[in-house]
């Protein structure tokens, strides 16, 4: 049996690199990381475990 492999011509989606839509906020420092969030009365928790 002969396996035939052909590279299909690029279509609107397949075979093309897509630029990400979420990059702008990530490369300009505008992402709201959870570490940035401050809520009224927000509490913090820390776990101290024995080694």
């Amino acid at each position: 049996m002969t396996a035939e492999t052909e590279t299909a011509a690029p279509t609107a989606e397949f075979g093309r690199a897509r630029l990400r839509k979420e990059d702008e906020r990530l490369i300009t420092g505008q992402t709201n990381w959870t570490d940035n969030i401050r809520l009224p009365g927000m509490l913090h928790i820390a776990f101290l475990r024995s080694p």
Binding site: L19, E24, I27, T28, G29, D35
Partner: protein
Amino acid sequence: VAEVTVSVDGVKYSDHVEPRLLLVHYLREVVGKTGTPVGCDTSNCGACTVLLNGESVKSCAVLAVQADGAEVTTIEGMATDGGLHPLQQAFHEEHALQCGYCTPGMIIAASDLLRENPHPSDEEIRDGLEGNLCRCTGYENIVRAVRRAAQAGASA
């Protein structure tokens, strides 16, 4: 309590701070520049890298009082009215980020690298960014992005 006057991304701030306050916490909590993330808190990862008088520093390893009188540039100050900085554009086009947490530090550190060496080899790029960790394993594309930005004249 000490008084510091710092220019951050072109805006002057004067604040009273505790002498032990780290620059990264000053930027994030006092100035409100949360674009600079805290990665490891131990100066390993480089996510919090900013420019201090034009030189890249890990802002978790600098005290706010050490920045008194200095100019600080964060990732939030890289884009201008003319648009994205060439490094920001190149990171986007070369898919040099996934989660983006290391990206501010990568871009800032790369800008200092290109200032010192406008046309680095791939090896020099890797050497120059060795203090910045990416856990999405995006190094290959990061090197590509820095190379692309260098070709676009990012050091200018």
